[in-house]
Every structure is written in structure tokens, then in C-alpha cells.
């Protein structure tokens, strides 16, 4: 029986985002969108989290932080890149300090494009990540 789908706990990290996507992530917790109806809890703690939600492109300063957060999360875990900056670097891709999208550092499972990503698409991304968590759980059991 799968319970990963029913209680995805998310950890939200702002790599170098302009806060546009962060506001939309928080907006999906508000009464209008209410992502908690799917059992989502916004934890601030990597040890409790199932899904790492990253906004903004990555740079030299945020790479070690992202790696550490990812390593601290228990298996099975999924990564969701929220916003066009996190998926490819967006308009900041050519900046001297920007490495590119999150996939330069971590294995990204779901890309949620948009500037800023809309709450509906963020919720959709989280639910897609739940399916991936489920597959990863099965793979862990098979090992």
C-alpha cells in the first residue's frame, strides 16, 4: 500500500530566486489553493521532507547548500524545480555567477516552468513528484 502519495512533506529552498516563485509556493498553502488537502506539510527540516522544492537558478554560493539539503533527506526523495530559473537558468542563464538550472547539481524529477510558476502548476508538480516517490519506493524495496 502506498502512503507516499498521501503525505508528501515538502522542503522549500530558495537558491537565488527573485522571491516571485517563493511567493507562489507559499500562495499554494493559502486557503484559495490549500495544498494541505493532499496531505502536504511545509516542513523546514530536510530530515522530515520527501520532496525538495527549489526555486531560482543555482550559483556558487547555493550549490553546497543544495547538495547538503539533498543529502540530509531520507530515501525515497524527489526534487522539483519550480520556475523557469530553476529549470534552465531563465534570463539569468548567461550571468557570470550563474551555473544554470538545478539539474546541473541534483537529479531533478519534475520541472515546473513559469515566471513566476502559478500555484496550480506547482501543486500539479508536487503531485507528479508523488508518483515518482512511489516508483522510487518500489525500487528501494526491490533492492
Amino acid at each position: 500500500m502506498s502512503f507516499n502519495k498521501k503525505s508528501p512533506w515538502i522542503l522549500h529552498y530558495d537558491a537565488t530566486s527573485c522571491n516571485g516563485c517563493d511567493i507562489e509556493v507559499l500562495a499554494s498553502l493559502t486557503p484559495l489553493y490549500d495544498v494541505e488537502r493532499f496531505g502536504v506539510v511545509n516542513t523546514g527540516d530536510p530530515r522530515h521532507a520527501d520532496i525538495l522544492l527549489i526555486t531560482g537558478s543555482v550559483n556558487g554560493q547555493s550549490i553546497p547548500v543544495i547538495k547538503q539539503l539533498y543529502e540530509q533527506m531520507p530515501d525515497p526523495k524527489a526534487v522539483v524545480a519550480v520556475g523557469i530559473c530553476a529549470t534552465s537558468g531563465g534570463i539569468f542563464a548567461d550571468c557570470y555567477n550563474v551555473e544554470g538550472g538545478v539539474d546541473k547539481v541534483l537529479p531533478v524529477d519534475v520541472y515546473v516552468p513559469g515566471c513566476a510558476a502559478r500555484p496550480q502548476s506547482i501543486i500539479d508538480g508536487i503531485l507528479k513528484a508523488c508518483d515518482i516517490l512511489e516508483e522510487k519506493q518500489k525500487a528501494l524495496k526491490g533492492r
Binding site: 500500500m1 502512503f3 507516499n4 498521501k6 503525505s7 512533506w9 486557503p31 490549500d34 494541505e36 488537502r37 493532499f38 496531505g39 506539510v41 511545509n42 516542513t43 523546514g44 527540516d45 530530515r47 522530515h48 520527501d50 540530509q72 531520507p74 530515501d75 525515497p76 519506493q137 528501494l140
Partner: protein, 288 residues
């Protein structure tokens, strides 16, 4: 044989009831905030998910404390629900809380150590009232055994209204509800990360959650003792009062903000000191 069945039933049904209450808590909280909220069975989904997940251990003793804490809390539930000694119930409950606290210190993470220190302050705040409750119940019934306290002609609440109010006040600490959710609350996610449970993951975290379900029922069990007497009606009334008190705590949780530890401590001691002592003095004046 009867006792063994009873023990088994208590061990199985206490966390189920506690989990359901937590589920209703989340649903009602969501409705109070104008949201739809998670399903009522959400706490069970959470725990079953955590049981499947990888358990990361920070050091060897880390997990040990959580398991021992759960063991003592189960023992507390057994003593209380089989009608044992109320003093022993309070002592074993405290021991369980202390092992949980040591688990916070064991991980060496600054967040969980800070959480453990706040938990210690919370224990300082609520323990005097726990003993005041036991003393008051002894004063009116001349016995520490719960099965005798709930079998008297008149419910204890008639003699101990002020102590009951004081107990409901410290119940907020025990249930980890705002305004006194300093060390680890369900809404404290961003302030202290997750307090004592910061470094716990997977199975250990699931056990922390189950421990909290037991604690919820034990805390409401004390409310029950105040209202139960030898007639069936008072027992039904006691259950209804337990639910009303829990609903009150949910509404309080959603309408107040977390206070600083100085205020929590002084307020708790003031309330326990004034209400507890006044009630005991009045009782001794009428010489019950």
C-alpha cells in the same frame, strides 16, 4: 487473562483514538482558517509513510531514547486506564517526557538542543500543576487510586473547579498547542526547524508521532477523572467534557500566538499557584 486482554486493547486502541483526534484537530484547524484541510485519517497516512522511509541515525543512542520514551508513555497509559495510582501515572509520564528530552540533547544539533532546553522549561512550567491536581484529587477522595476516585458519589469537579481550570491551562503545554508550543509544535516548522524532532527521520519520527497520540489521550484522561463518578451519566458527561476541552484547545491554538518562554513560565506558575493553592485552602476551610 482478563487483564492481558485489557492491556492489549489499551495498547491498540489508545493510539488509534489519539490519531483520530489529531486528524479531527487538523480538519477543524483548516476549517477555522477557511481551508478544506487534509482527510481525517491524514495522521495515520503520515505515520505509515514514515514507517516505510529510510531512518537516518545521527548516533547510536539517538534512536534509543525515543523508543524508551514510547515504552514509558505506553506504561503510563496502562497504569491510568486500568485505574492505577495517579501519582505513579504522573511520575512515569514525566519519565517518558525526560527520555524524549534526552533524545533532543543526544543529536547535538543546535536546533534540537534548543528545542530540548525549551522542553525543559515547559516541564518546569506544567509539573507543579500536575502535582497540585494529584494532591487535590487525594484531598477530596482520600485515595490515589484512579479506580476509586472515579467511583465516588460526587465527581471531583464539584470540589476542585479552580484546580480543573488550572489543569486545562497547563493542558496547552502537554498537547503542544499555541500559545505554549515553544519546543515543538505542529505550526513551529520555521521558527525552531522542528525542535527536538529536528534530527529524527523515518521510523523514529513515526514513533514520536505515536507517542504524542498516547500523550493526548493521557492528558484528556486527567480531564475525565475530574468528571467521572459512580453513575453511568457522569462517565458520558466526562467523555463529552474531554471533547469540549479538546475543541477549546484547537480554537485556542488557532487564535493565539506563541509567547516567549519567560511569559509562559511565569504565567503557568502564577495560574497554578493562585488557582491550585486557593482551591486547596478553600477545601481545607470547609474540611472535606
Amino acid at each position: 487473562m482478563m487483564l492481558a486482554v485489557k492491556i492489549l486493547l489499551i495498547i491498540i486502541f489508545t493510539p488509534l483514538a489519539g490519531g483520530l483526534l489529531t486528524g479531527f484537530d487538523r480538519k477543524i484547524s483548516a476549517r477555522l482558517q477557511g481551508r478544506q484541510g487534509p482527510p481525517v485519517l491524514q495522521p495515520f497516512y503520515d505515520v505509515l509513510k514514515l514507517l516505510q522511509k529510510e531512518t537516518i541515525e545521527v548516533n547510536p543512542s539517538h534512536r534509543f531514547y525515543v523508543y524508551v520514551s514510547l515504552m514509558f508513555i505506553i506504561l503510563t497509559a496502562l497504569i491510568m486506564l486500568t485505574g492505577g495510582d495517579i501519582l505513579l501515572t504522573i511520575f512515569v509520564l514525566t519519565l517518558g517526557s525526560i527520555f524524549f528530552l534526552l533524545g533532543g540533547y543526544a543529536s547535538q544539533s543546535p536546533y534540537s538542543v534548543l528545542g530540548a532546553e525549551r522542553e525543559l522549561l515547559q516541564m518546569m512550567a506544567y509539573e507543579p500543576m500536575m502535582f497540585m491536581t494529584a494532591a487535590g484529587l487525594y484531598y477530596v477522595s482520600n485515595t490515589f487510586f484512579i479506580r476509586d476516585i472515579v467511583n465516588r458519589k460526587m465527581p471531583a469537579i464539584i470540589y476542585l473547579p479552580a484546580i480543573f481550570v488550572g489543569f486545562v491551562f497547563i493542558l496547552t503545554f502537554k498537547l503542544r498547542k499555541s500559545p505554549f508550543d515553544l519546543s515543538l509544535g505542529h505550526h513551529a516548522h520555521q521558527e525552531l526547524v522542528q525542535g527536538i524532532s529536528t534530527e529524527y527521520s523515518g521510523r523514529s519520527l513515526a514513533f514520536i508521532e505515536i507517542t504524542h497520540w498516547y500523550e493526548t489521550i493521557i492528558a484528556l484522561g486527567f480531564v475525565y477523572i475530574f468528571f467521572a463518578a459512580d453513575s453511568i451519566g457522569t462517565h458520558i458527561l466526562a467523555v463529552i467534557v474531554c471533547l469540549i476541552v479538546y475543541l477549546f484547545e484547537i480554537i485556542l491554538d488557532n487564535s493565539t500566538v506563541r509567547v516567549k518562554w519567560q511569559k509562559a513560565l511565569s504565567l503557568a506558575w502564577l495560574v497554578s499557584g493562585v488557582l491550585g493553592t486557593a482551591n486547596l485552602v478553600v477545601l481545607s476551610f470547609f474540611n472535606f
